[in-house]
Structures are given as structure tokens and as C-alpha cells.
């Protein structure tokens, strides 16, 4: 099994980051994510926690030796369940591959929280456990190594891509806010 762990601080506050993450795809960096679908959603009436189940359709080229192990279809599906607690300002996502799961499992956990030292920032942590199944005893280690490297690459482009999404999101949010303020001011003038 290979473990991947990383962390990152985003210089945006948590509400904005959590809202922007729904708009993370498509982005020019993460071109391997082709589709995102919401399968289920639920708000717990007692805790106020929102739970979402999503399906990701991913298409990515792989080296020939991997194709020989995994078959020639490069389209894969990932199931993600995320919980958003607006009171503790915590967004937690767990995902698991649906396809190839008899050969390889990649289980990922991501969390976005308010940065403990700076409430204007958001702390991001990501963990993945990658393990090749018993069907690939001979090539298991090689497959795990490759998947880990690919995961690291995707994580890096994921962050870069999300940064661009956040920048656009902030601009749109500010434009919306200014428009609202204009409307309020002109209302005030009309009423005087």
C-alpha cells in the first residue's frame, strides 16, 4: 500500500473556498475530470450538516504496461461522499474508485477547515491510500508506484486549477456585492 499526504493553505476564507469547490471543474489544469454528477443530497434537520454524493467521470492516459493490467478502457468512475458542516466550518470529502476496484483501490480523504492560526485562510489536507489488489500480485508494487506518482501530479494540478477557480470566484462575488450595494444606494436616494 502507498500512502500520500499533503496539506496547503488557501488565502481565502472558508465560506468562499467551500462554495468555490462546487465549481472546481472543469478547469484548465485538471483536464482528466470529464464529468461531475450529483447523485444524492441531504440536509440533516438536527445538525444542519449537508451530505452530498457525487460521481466523477475521469479519463486519463496511462502507460502501456498499465493498460495491459487494467484493460484498455481509460474512462473511470469515482464515488465521493462529502459532508459540509456550516457551524464548525468543515468540509470533508471521501472518495473511492468504482472501476478497477478488484485490481486497485484509491481511497482519498480531503478536508477544508478554517485555518487554526488565521481565520481569513482555509487549511486543506489530503490523504490517499493506494493499494493494488491480490489479482495483480506480480505487478502490484509497480502499479502502486505509478498510481502514487499520478496521484501526486493530479494533486498538484488540482491545487493550481482550484487557485484559478478561486480567483475567478472572488471577482464574481465582489462584482455581485458591488451591484447589490449600488441597488441599495439608489433605492435609498429614490426614497429620500
Amino acid at each position: 500500500m502507498k500512502i500520500f499526504e499533503t496539506g496547503h493553505d488557501y488565502s481565502y476564507e472558508w465560506s468562499l473556498v467551500s462554495a468555490a469547490h462546487w465549481c472546481k471543474y472543469p478547469n484548465e489544469k485538471a483536464t482528466h475530470v470529464k464529468c461531475v454528477d450529483v447523485l444524492n443530497q441531504h440536509v440533516d434537520p438536527e445538525t444542519g450538516v449537508l451530505t452530498m454524493e457525487r460521481l466523477f467521470t475521469v479519463k486519463q492516459n496511462v502507460p502501456t504496461f498499465i493498460l495491459k493490467i487494467l484493460g484498455s478502457d481509460t474512462t473511470h468512475y469515482v464515488r465521493e461522499v462529502s459532508t459540509i458542516d456550516p457551524r464548525t466550518k468543515t468540509l470533508t470529502m471521501r472518495s473511492l474508485n468504482l472501476t478497477m476496484s478488484n485490481l486497485l483501490t484509491v481511497e482519498e480523504t480531503i478536508q477544508y477547515k478554517v485555518h487554526p492560526d488565521d481565520s481569513t485562510k482555509t487549511q486543506f489536507t489530503q490523504q490517499a491510500a493506494i493499494s493494488a489488489g491480490s489479482s495483480v500480485v506480480r505487478w502490484g508494487n509497480l502499479l502502486e508506484d505509478f498510481t502514487l506518482k499520478r496521484f501526486q501530479q493530479n494533486a498538484a494540478t488540482g491545487r493550481e486549477g482550484f487557485h484559478k477557480v478561486l480567483e475567478r470566484f472572488v471577482v464574481m462575488a465582489e462584482a455581485g456585492h458591488q451591484q447589490q450595494q449600488k441597488a441599495v444606494r439608489s433605492d435609498g436616494q429614490n426614497n429620500n
Partner: protein
């Protein structure tokens, strides 16, 4: 905006996405958790279900939900296998 795994469903999806994103920022994050966009979600979801069945993804999902029950699995969908033991709220 991202497209749907069912190409025909993308338009329905984007209508739902617009509604959801607005609700999330303007209501949910501000403490109002009353669900909205339910009709839009119903239409979009019905469309996606057809594609999931066609591609066999529904079976993969069922297996995944049995083998790896994520925490908080009360998805509000009556057709799902419920993996948790929490009593259903009426």
C-alpha cells in the same frame, strides 16, 4: 460548469447547479438549511439514472455502497440501500 456523464442531462444539470450554487452561498452558509432546487434536482437525477443503468455504473455504485459505507450515508433517496443503522426520520 462541468458536464454530466449523460450528455443529454447536461442542460438539466446546469439548471440544477445554478440553483444549488445560489442556495449554498445565499442560504445554506448563512444558516438557512431549508432545501431548495428539489424539482430541478429530481428532473436532472432522473435523467442521470438512465445513463447510469445504461453504462452499468448503477451496479458499481450499489457494490460500493455495500462494501464501503461512508459516514453520514442518509442520502434522502428511498431507492438506496441504506448502509447505516440510524433510525429513519419520518
Amino acid at each position: 460548469m462541468s458536464s454530466s456523464v449523460g450528455a443529454d442531462c447536461t442542460e438539466l444539470k446546469q439548471k440544477y447547479d445554478n440553483c444549488f450554487n445560489k442556495w449554498y452561498s445565499e442560504k445554506f452558509l448563512k444558516g438557512d438549511t431549508t432545501p431548495e432546487c428539489e424539482d430541478l434536482f429530481k428532473d436532472y437525477r432522473a435523467c442521470v439514472m438512465v445513463t447510469l443503468k445504461e453504462k452499468g455504473i448503477d451496479k458499481l455504485l450499489d457494490e460500493s455502497r455495500k462494501e464501503a459505507p461512508f459516514p453520514s450515508t442518509s442520502f434522502g433517496d428511498n431507492n438506496n440501500n441504506d448502509n447505516n443503522n440510524q433510525p429513519k426520520k419520518s
